[in-house]
Each structure stands twice: as C-alpha cells, then as structure tokens.
Subunit: 323 residues, 2 copies
Amino acid sequence: MNFKEIQKLLEKDLELVKKEITKSLDSPISFIGKVASYLIESGGKRFRPIVLILSSKAFGYKEERMYVIASTLEFIHTATLLHDDVVDYAELRRGQPTANILWGNEATVLVGDFLLARSFLKLVQDGDLEVLDCVSRATTKMAEGELLQLLKTNEPKTTEDEYLEIVKSKTAVLISAASEIGAILGNGTEEEKKKMRDFGMNLGIAFQIVDDTIDYLVEDQTMGKTRGQDYFDGKVTLPFIYAYKNSDDKNKTFLEELFLKEEKDKEDFERLFVYLKKMNAFDYSFNFAKSYVEKAKENITFLKEPFKNYLNILAEYTLERTI
Amino acid sequence: MNFKEIQKLLEKDLELVKKEITKSLDSPISFIGKVASYLIESGGKRFRPIVLILSSKAFGYKEERMYVIASTLEFIHTATLLHDDVVDYAELRRGQPTANILWGNEATVLVGDFLLARSFLKLVQDGDLEVLDCVSRATTKMAEGELLQLLKTNEPKTTEDEYLEIVKSKTAVLISAASEIGAILGNGTEEEKKKMRDFGMNLGIAFQIVDDTIDYLVEDQTMGKTRGQDYFDGKVTLPFIYAYKNSDDKNKTFLEELFLKEEKDKEDFERLFVYLKKMNAFDYSFNFAKSYVEKAKENITFLKEPFKNYLNILAEYTLERTI
C-alpha cells in the first residue's frame, strides 16, 4: 500500500473536506474564492487533512467536525503558501503561475489574511478551546519559522540546530497539530496526545528535509520547481550545512563565496552540487530524514491496526518522494 | 474635556495595555520585537484600547483581562497597518519611514502574520468564546474590506454604498468589536451588546470618513501623510463620490480622466480639489460623518455617567481631527 492508495481510501472523507473548503470561501467578495480556490484546488496533496483524518480515526473518532477542522488546516497551509510566494518572489507553484504573478502581491497578501482569519472564525464557531490552542500555537510558531528562515537567508554559516528550528516551525508544527488534533477529538490521554504530537513533528521534519534535499537533485515538474531553487534564493539547507561543517577552511571559503555570489548561474549550482555530492551531503540528509521517520514510527507503536499501518505508510511516503 | 484628557485619565490603564503588548512581543526571534515595537510604540493613539476600556468600565468591569484583550486589538490593528503599507507601497507612516521601507516587504508581511497569530493565541488562552467570536468575525471582515478597497482602486464610478461597505469593514468593525467587548465582559444584555456594537460601528464610520476627507485638505505631519495621498493612490473616497454623482456628463468625464491619469501631479490634484470644493463635497462629507457621530451618541444614551460623557467625547473627537 502506498500514499496514493491512502488518498483513494480516504476519497469520501477528502470530498467532505473539500465541501467545507468551498463553503468557507463563500464571501460577498467573489474575488477571494477565485484566488483561494485557484490554489486550494490546484492539486495539493491534502497531506495535513489526511494526517488529521487518519489520526482521528485511529482514536475511533467519526464526527463530521473532523472535516471542518481539517479544512481550516488546509486554509492555514494555503495562507502561508500565498504569503511565502510573495516573500520569495516565486513565479511558479505546482507548475502554475503563482497567485502573486496572476493577481499581484497586494491581493495575494490580503487573500492570505482572509484565509487565516476565516480559519480562526471557523475554529471559534466549532468551539473547542483545546483545538483552538493547538492551532493558534502552531500558527504563531509558523510565522516565527518563516521569519527565522528570512533572517537566515544568505547566511552560509547557519547551523544544523538553526536549520532544524526553521524546519520544525515553518513546516512540522502544523503537521504535528494535525496529528495531535486526532487524539484531542478522540479523547486520547495526555500521553497519547504527546505521542501523536511527536509523531506529526517527526514526520514533518522528515518531510521538509527530503523536500530541501531533492531541491538539489531533480526538477520537479509537478511542483513547478527548478532544480537548485533554494540555492538561487539564498536558502541554506541541510546538505549545504553538512558539507560546510565538514570542510576545511579553504573549502569553507569556496562554499561561502559560491553561496554569496551576486549573480548565480547554472554552472555555479553545478559546482556546488558536485562538491556536495563528493562530501556525501545528500546521503547524509536522506539518512537524517530517515532517522526522523523511524522516530515517527516509534511514536505510534501503541496505535491499533489498520491505522498504525496507514500512518506508517504516510511516514514512509516522505522518503519515497525522492524519486 | 477632550480626547487628550481622556488619554490622560486612562494613563494607568494604557500603561497596563502597553505592558501586555511588550509581554506578547517576547519571542526567540528578537527581530519581531524590533519591527513590531517600532510601529506599536511610535505614537499610535491607542484608539481601540481606549474604546474597549471605556466601554468595559461603563459596564462596571474592572478585571485585568480587559488589558489583555485590549492589547490584542492593538496587535490586530498593527498587523493590518503592516500589511497595508506593503499593499500601498507606503513610504511614510506617522512621519517615520514605514516598516517595509526599513526591513523590506517580506519581513513586514511575516511580522504582520505573527501579530495576527499571536493575538488569537492570547485570546484563546484567555478562553472566552464570545470574545473570540467577536474578534475573529471582525478580523475576517477586515480582510474582506481591504480586498474590496483594492478591487475598487482606480474605479471612479465606485458608489457611496460600496464606499461605505469598505469603510465599515476595513475600519469600523474593529472599533465596533472593541466597543461590544466592553458589554460582553461586563455581562451586558443582548440588547446592550447590540447598542455598543452599533456605537462602535457608527463611531468607526465617522472616523474613517473624516480621515478620508482631511486627506484632501491638509498635510498631516504627525501622520506623515501627503495631502492628496488617496488621489495619488487611486483611492476613491466620499468627497469624490459625492461630486461625481452630482456632476453632469461633461464633468463626469472630466473627473474620470483626472482620476485615471497615468502620471498625476500636484496640479492635477489642485484642479480636482478646486472642483470638489466648488461642489461642496467636503462640507457634504463632514456632515455625513457628523450624522454618524450623532447616531453613535444616540446608541449610548442608556449608559451611566461619567462613561457616557467620555464615550461621547470620543465620538466628537472623530470630527475635531479636521483642524
């Protein structure tokens, strides 16, 4: 069984999530629906809703509320994508022109704000303070993570700890919230909630490390990503950090200069790539991610089948995306 | 008694609001505190906290919680200012360079996101679902208002109704929320809550109409605003709408052309100004604002002194800002 089959298995559930999304985009300003649905319906994997639904079901929870909450996580995720694209001056996402290219930075920022505000309104109307606490903590942390990443742009001396902090806060906390919410909805014990929170966090860390590593390795047509995008954007990620740490002073200088070049071209990237490969930086990164997948799987050994198996498949999936 | 004296009267209360603000800016990312406090401490009037505090006291409420909630409204207001400045390409606010000029659009968007998320987290931790509902409704509406304003940029045919919708949602709803929260905290009846909500709404409408009208009349050094800024930004406001509606076809064309000119200069603005003045558009706008101040005062006739008087002074203050 693989990720696609899980998507298939949850087809009806994801249909209900989509219904909630459509309902929430209803606004007298029809432009909002246009921009938001452009992104929300353009082939997202619904990773966060899937984590939330599987986790809820693992705790025996079946109420419709789970789809409402799942839809708010997809909204929050979408809001951060919109703001990210403005921050990164991105032109393509999932192979399509980004919202900021189509409608301008201004509208993109404001539609992101709307989605964020709308998510909170939905959660407030749902009325579960524990869920609200979990999500608003995650959202606050995400903004911190994005800022930390921005501050560390063009900083070749970024450490592994700093990188992990960015990865945790910009990506993993929302997946962690998705996972914990299942335990909250299903009345898990405090210990079970913690385990699900940790599962989501470890899963999210692996997810982002793999994302950052394959950025060096392949063009991703479906994601509309250029190979080496992070390098061109000045984003320091794990392969670079590892190679830098394990280089002598001469090579450290070589890496710094290459990373801080004003006009970077494909050849610069190839030089960096060859060096990182020689240093086994990609193997290191994948193994690092793999260790987090193992931790994630450890976290949920207490769950019953078949949901333990499904969640393990999600965890494995983060690594399979390498191909 | 005037607004300054009310600020003086509430000095200790506002000190407690400021304490809450400082506490909430505490983040491992010290940059956030730097950007946010630059704006929050640079001479805002604390209008929303003042409305909330006076309204709470009018209902006999005295608990410290009111300062926590007041601080979140100031945060939300600040977040929208940050995002507005990015949307408007603004360079000056309150006579100082804007955050986007000092730290770039990226950081400005993200610090705004942080403030928004942090506000919700504080309100969730405060734990009052009625307050949360009130604030998250307002925040959603605000994003809609900003978007509507953006969509109506360079639209000389914007109607008075459309303009009022923008004014209500981008400005008045948050003041309305501030006013209603006093009644919520002080256990007012549903009818009293509605009256306070209406008071804030009418007050907020007057506030914004006056703001838009004086934009045509005076440079505002303290606000760092150029005379005619809205005209140069393509923002259609009440004086223009009134003059346009009451013009014959020839003058309508004159107004449209003047408004849609690609390169607007000071002389274009003066021509527009002279025409609007001849049409009594400024008198009309001030009288329009005044009618909302009267409505606001009507809404709170039921309150006891001295708070009724204080809130009436706030209402009058929106008009006094003309000088």
